[in-house]
């Protein structure tokens, strides 16, 4: 076991600390007394992953061993998490490849012919052929693509089916092929507490009709946080839907968890605590700064997007979703949970280059918002690290850049909705229907590689809880025009940002810097 997570209090001996800011990072000196949240040391990965997979499949929780579920003539659908997990993308072989290969081996041995592979991309963009190949591996890809290896199409009415309705009146509508299968094997990689479990099938294979019951402002405002399923209204809804699904279709889930090795060894300093940097770490930081600064923007983006994480696998568990997930969550907590003593007036987050929706793409301002005020703000249990009415300070250059193919509805959302209002509830009421049913967006989602028309609105809802909780939001180093469009203030330096924050939280605020990635889940007492 490595060292547990801990909270550093900045004193005179504390060096400058690493802060992510998009496709870059800086060393920042924090005021004395600032608390810095570090995750536990990266856990060691399982050495023989294939053996662990076999073990999990043969000794499942709450279900029979996989081979016992397979029989000739059955319809088997293998569903896997799409490109939004894990972040950054992991080195090949992808964990999903290893699991799928093993599952297919058992299926072949059992004489199952009717096998379909589906990416659980919900309203995300379709994965390209190259991305599918990277995820499932060459062998699987060559045997199944394109006929039997597909992206889920949430707008293909003919291939959707309503499985049922929860006692809260939530419609459960998922992919027809999966729903009508004798067995769904769901291959998951869990990075944070929000993924896996009930979410996998109920969300990954759903349609807009079904998703809107939990992807809305009300639910997200009552998910505190969405990384803590017991306290997340969103997960309560998932659970209800999973209950309906369980009555109708058999799901055998395989969940795996990763450790904290988010960056390749060339930038190993990113995974280490700053005062423990060796001379080599110092040198590689300097080299990184120089190279990153000099590289042309396009090349820089390529370098970051191609920095695949050498994740170690900390656990593989299989079986019935409800029985498997607690083991998965425990593994996530072992890697990420850090106890924090009370809230502070100001929270500081450095936003990395990647979020679930800009893999091989561009991080546009709306995604920056959802990454900062959605994903990172919600990396807590019990209470946010900032008090109600406190200030969030985020680092990101936030250029007004968009990927024209992946994010077409984001452009329109940014240009014509955010210019009118930034209120999530108003946006939901006035614009959701229009964006969700727009035929052009639907066309692009289905035939090109665009996120669904409604997706940018979901990203905005993702920050709804933080928008309600925080008294002010300041972005350090952000493009002023873009930040203003989102309704945020900008500062050139941390000093200026703290100065501005004083208007809201008084003259001697307490500060907490949430140091990540590697991700730390703050357990605020």
């Amino acid at each position: 076991m490595g060292r547990p997570g801990f909270v550093l209090e900045v004193d005179e001996r504390t060096p400058a600390l690493l802060v992510n800011e998009g496709e870059g990072a800086r060393l920042e000196r924090f005021p004395l007394g600032t608390r810095v949240i570090y995750p536990p040391d990266s856990l060691p990965g399982i050495r023989d992953v294939r053996a662990a997979i076999r073990h999990a499949l043969l000794h499942p929780h709450g279900d029979d061993p996989l081979p016992a579920l397979l029989r000739p003539g059955m319809r088997l659908t293998v569903v896997f998490d799409d490109i939004s997990l894990p972040l950054p993308q992991m080195r090949t072989p992808d964990m999903r490849q290893l699991v799928i290969e093993q599952v297919l081996e058992y299926a072949a041995a059992a004489g199952v012919d009717d096998v379909e592979l589906l990416a659980a991309n919900a309203l995300h963009r379709r994965m390209t052929a190259a991305e599918l190949r990277r995820t499932v591996g060459d062998r699987v890809f060559r045997s199944f693509f394109p006929g039997h290896l597909k992206n889920h199409d949430a707008e293909d009415r003919a291939n959707l089916t309503e499985v049922g309705t929860t006692r809260h009146g939530e419609v459960v509508e998922i992919n027809r092929r999966a729903a009508e299968s004798d067995l769904i094997v769901y291959v998951n990689i869990t990075l944070t507490g929000m993924s896996g479990g009930s979410k996998s099938v109920a969300v990954g294979l759903a349609s807009y009709r079904s998703l809107r019951h939990h992807h809305n402002v009300h639910t997200l405002r009552h998910s505190r946080s969405f990384n803590d399923p017991p306290k997340s209204a969103m997960h309560h809804s998932y659970d209800r839907m999973a209950g309906v699904l369980a009555d109708n279709v058999r799901v055998f889930t395989v969940e795996s968890t990763v450790n904290g090795d988010s960056y390749p060894p060339q930038v190993g300093f990113m995974n280490r605590r700053e005062w423990e940097w060796s001379a080599a770490d110092q040198a590689s930081y300097l080299a990184f700064r120089k190279l990153n600064g000099m590289a042309p923007a396009k090349l820089r983006r390529q370098m970051w997007q191609r920095s695949y994480a050498p994740y170690g696998i900390t656990g593989v568990h299989a079986g019935a979703p409800a029985d498997v997930h607690p083991y998965t969550l425990a593994a996530v907590h072992r890697q990420q949970l850090t106890e924090v003593d009370g809230q502070s007036d100001i929270g500081v987050w450095g936003l990395p280059f990647i979020c679930p929706y800009n893999v091989n793409s561009v991080m546009n301002p709306v995604l920056v918002m959802s990454l900062g005020l959605g994903y990172l703000f919600n990396l807590y249990r019990n209470k946010p690290i900032v008090r109600q009415g406190g200030v969030g300070i985020f680092y990101h250059p936030m250029p007004a850049e968009f990927h024209p193919v992946h994010h077409p509805s984001y452009i329109d959302f940014y240009e014509s909705v955010l210019s009118r209002t930034k209120d999530p509830a108003l946006i939901e009421e006035k614009y959701e229907e229009q964006f969700a049913t727009d035929p052009w967006y639907t066309h692009l989602y289905r035939t090109s590689h665009a996120y669904h028309g409604v997706h940018p609105l979901y990203m905005w809802y993702w920050g709804a809880h933080a928008l309600q909780h925080l008294g002010d939001v300041i972005f350090v180093g952000a493009d002023r025009g873009a930040a203003a469009r989102l309704g945020f203030r900008t500062a050139s330096t941390l000093g200026d940002a703290l100065e501005m924050a004083r208007e809201t939280v008084g003259s001697s605020p307490s500060i907490t810097y949430h140091h990540s990635p590697p991700l730390a889940l703050a357990d605020v007492r």
């Binding site: 390209t128 052929a129 190259a130 190949r133 890809f141 693509f145 394109p146 396009k298 007004a400 850049e401 968009f402 990927h403 024209p404 193919v405 077409p408 452009i411 329109d412 240009e415 014509s416 210019s419 009118r420 727009d438 035929p439 052009w440 066309h443 692009l444 035939t447 090109s448 590689h449």
Partner: protein, 764 residues
């Protein structure tokens, strides 16, 4: 007393009419007025009641009073001097005030003769025919003797020019010029220039431009002919030349028919000193534009000598003198001459004038459109040579910039530069015209003696208005009367500078008026897409050829580029045809699949999100959306769901293979306008409410056709065309992907992955 007034709608004529009505309540007045468009002579006369010249009178007796006075006391005779259109004059006339004249100083020669010479002859003929023997006050100009030096006496001009012969030649000049303008020597270069400038916009645009150029050539030719003829006989320009011959006509009629004729020669008539009110003037002329341009800081130096006399005279001094002259008829057959000017007894030097004007603008600077006020430059007044040099340098620089800029690609910044350069050169040209005109009058060294006039002033009946120019207080007149009057309008209109930046796309999209009979027509390349035919071709090749063959493919394309550039210059259609031949031999189904699976994303990558948003906004407003493109329909399939109609050419297919030919001519240039016109007819569209979007001058015909044309990232020529017509200009492409990204997108598509490496080739 019954007075005939000609030129009553002009500057001097209006002043005369007002004075007659106000000061001579017993006089009967007849005005000879030309019909203009739908307005008859009577209408135009009635219209005068609203003019500023009657402001003082309106204040006294009300607008209705003025209308009544005009209706009761003034008869309008409809007729046009110089066109054989003079009606019978009343037999009761006792005086004629002949104020009609050309408005311009550089009219075509036939025009100048028609009005100033032929018009005078027709007037005298009509006077004779009427049976009356009125006293004719013939208004000429002092500048008929402008090129004399020293004092010019008030008497008949000394020259032996045969006005009948000159008139004959002048009248024949237009026909000759029209004939010459149609000869190959003239028409050839004009047509060539029109082709170079408008070739891309199509043949009818070229024809229209060529015909416009020919007419301009005729006009210019006649203007030059008049000026040169005048100068060759010792006058400054065709205006003074024909005014002098007009005097000769008057003298002949006076002598031959014992008419009583007085020739009144004012100098430069300017705004009123007192009557009808201080500062009254009708329109900007002569000195006024220069004063204004100076006040705006646009003229750094002026081509005259400090000690030159500028002989201006307020209009009310001229009208008072004219009325006094009219009241004192000379003996029949012996014309009398009167100079009305200030140069002899109250000279105003250029230096004095400049000092007074500068003092005025220093105390009351013009607003500088949101940037405070204009600081006027000091003039050194060192004569014409230094100014001429500076002006020529300015003209050359402006011309050079104007020629060089269009050769560069039309980025937003360069377009703005081109705009500025065009404004600069327009300003230089305007300045050149002003100075050329004014040069002839501002640097005159003649002094116009006014002994006759001053004798008349001294002998005038008590109680009538005086006209002694020695009483004019120049500092007061220039700074307190003249300058405030000419700058008043300019102060009213100069608000803050108009922002040229296109309004945010969101607002435009929201503000589209709904309508079923409206279509939005979009050009493709450069308007909806940042890419073009060539880029698409490169994608298809790179997809189909293994990486080892890329260099060869690109080299082959590069070798063909000069040919394509030539074809593109000649005709867009030629280029499209030539380029499409590259697809000869490709399997249609494979190309279609490649477009669907791989080129589609690349195209979307290179599309303008603003264009897509606008197309969708048109749809939302109930408009039909139409794509008009020269490329083949196959390549626009990924965008097809955006459009209700696509006008594109089609690639010919034989046995599943493309032949490299098109099934019908590409829809380019004027063909687009023709297509759109027919489409509008069949679909029942109102073209005036339709929208069209284009980026290139070759889209001009299409854009000209509709009521709401929009130039998107326009090339220089379209930009100029758009600016001249106040079209919307928009900059699109804020979130468009680059060329390289698009290539990578095309290469990362699924089709490549489907194919085993050995079986490459969607396109062969």
């Amino acid at each position: 007393m019954h007075v005939l007034l000609t030129g009553a709608t002009g500057f001097l004529g209006q002043a005369m009419l007002e004075r007659l009505i106000v000061d001579h309540p017993d006089a009967r007045i007849t005005v000879l007025v030309r019909r203009r468009g739908d307005a008859s002579a009577a209408d135009r006369l009635a219209g005068l009641a609203r003019k500023p010249v009657f402001r003082t009178l309106r204040e006294r007796i009300g607008a209705a009073g003025v209308r009544a006075a005009l209706a009761e006391r003034v008869d309008a005779l409809e007729g046009d001097l110089g066109s054989g259109g003079v009606p019978a004059l009343p037999g009761t006339l006792t005086a004629v005030l002949h104020c009609a004249s050309t408005v311009s100083f550089d009219p075509p020669v036939d025009e100048a003769f028609r009005i100033n010479v032929l018009g005078a002859r027709e007037l005298y003929e009509a006077v004779l025919a009427s049976g009356a023997s009125p006293h004719v006050v013939h208004v000429s100009t002092a500048y008929v003797s402008a090129l004399h030096r020293g004092v010019v006496a008030e008497r008949s001009l000394d020259h032996a020019v045969d006005w009948r012969g000159e008139l004959r030649h002048a009248q024949a000049a237009r026909e000759a010029a029209e004939v010459r303008s149609r000869t190959p020597g003239v028409l050839g270069p004009l047509l060539a220039a029109a082709r170079a400038e408008h070739g891309k916009a199509g043949t009818s645009a070229v024809a229209a431009a060529a015909e416009r150029a020919r007419r301009d050539w005729v006009h210019e030719h006649l203007v030059t002919a008049g000026r040169l003829r005048g100068q060759s006989l010792g006058w400054t320009d065709v205006y003074t030349f024909t005014k002098a011959l007009g005097e000769r006509v008057a003298e002949e009629y006076a002598q031959d028919h014992d008419l009583r004729v007085s020739v009144l020669r004012p100098t430069i008539v300017q705004a009123a000193l007192d009557l009808p009110y201080p500062g009254w003037f009708e329109s900007y002329k002569m000195m006024d534009p220069i004063t204004l341009a100076y006040g705006r800081g646009e003229i750094r130096e002026f081509p005259v000598h400090a000690d030159s006399v500028v002989d201006i005279v307020p209009v009310d001094v001229v009208t008072s003198a004219a009325l006094a002259v009219a009241a004192a008829p000379p003996e029949p057959g012996r014309p009398a001459y009167f100079h009305v000017g200030t140069g002899a007894r109250n000279p105003l030097t250029q230096d004095d004038l400049h000092r007074h004007v500068k003092r005025y603008f220093t105390a009351h600077p013009l607003p500088d459109a949101g940037r405070g006020h204009v600081k006027v430059p000091p003039w050194r007044l060192n004569g014409a040579a230094p100014v001429e040099r500076a002006l020529r340098a300015g003209e050359r620089a402006a011309e050079l910039v104007e020629r060089a800029l269009p050769l560069l690609p039309a980025s937003a910044r360069l377009r703005e530069r081109a705009d500025r350069a065009r404004t600069d050169s327009r300003r230089v040209r305007a300045l050149r015209r002003l100075l050329d005109l004014y040069g002839g009058y501002g640097g005159v060294e003649a002094v116009f003696g006014d002994a006759n006039t001053i004798a008349l002033h001294r002998g005038r009946p008590p109680g009538t208005a005086g006209f002694d120019v020695a009483e004019i207080d120049w500092p007061h007149y220039v700074a307190d009367v003249y300058c405030p009057a000419v700058t008043a309008a300019s102060r009213r209109t100069s608000g803050p500078r108009r922002s040229r930046a296109a309004a945010g796309g969101a607002d435009v999209n929201a503000a589209l008026p709904e309508g079923r009979d409206v279509a939005a027509l979009f050009d493709l390349e450069g308007t909806v897409l940042a890419s073009n035919l060539v880029e698409v071709f490169v994608w298809t090749r790179l997809i189909s050829v293994p990486p080892a063959g890329w260099a060869g493919e690109l080299a082959s394309l590069a070798r063909a580029v000069p040919g394509y550039v030539g074809a593109e210059r000649r005709d867009r259609g030629d280029f499209v045809r030539a380029f499409m031949r590259r697809y000869a031999g490709c399997r249609e189904a494979e190309l279609r699949a490649a477009v669907a699976h791989r080129i589609g994303d690349a195209l979307l990558h290179r599309s303008f999100p603003e264009a897509v948003a606008r197309i969708r906004a048109h749809r939302a407003a109930g408009h039909r959306t139409v794509l008009i493109t020269g490329t083949a329909d196959l390549f626009v399939q990924p965008l097809a769901p955006l459009f209700d109609e696509i006008a594109a050419s089609r690639l010919q297919v034989r046995d599943g293979l493309l032949t490299g030919r098109l099934e019908r001519p590409p829809v380019v240039g004027e063909a687009r306008a023709a297509w759109a016109r027919r489409y509008a007819e069949t679909a029942g569209l109102d073209l005036r409410r339709c929208y069209a979007y284009g980026d290139s001058f070759s889209d001009r015909a299409l854009l000209d056709l509709v009521g709401n044309p929009v130039a998107v990232n326009p090339d220089h020529r379209l930009h100029r065309h758009a600016a001249g017509r106040a079209w919307r200009v928009e900059e699109w492409g804020a979130h468009t992907g680059g060329r390289l990204d698009a290539v990578l997108t095309a290469l990362s598509g699924p089709a490549r992955a489907v194919r085993p490496a050995g079986r490459a080739g969607a396109v062969r």
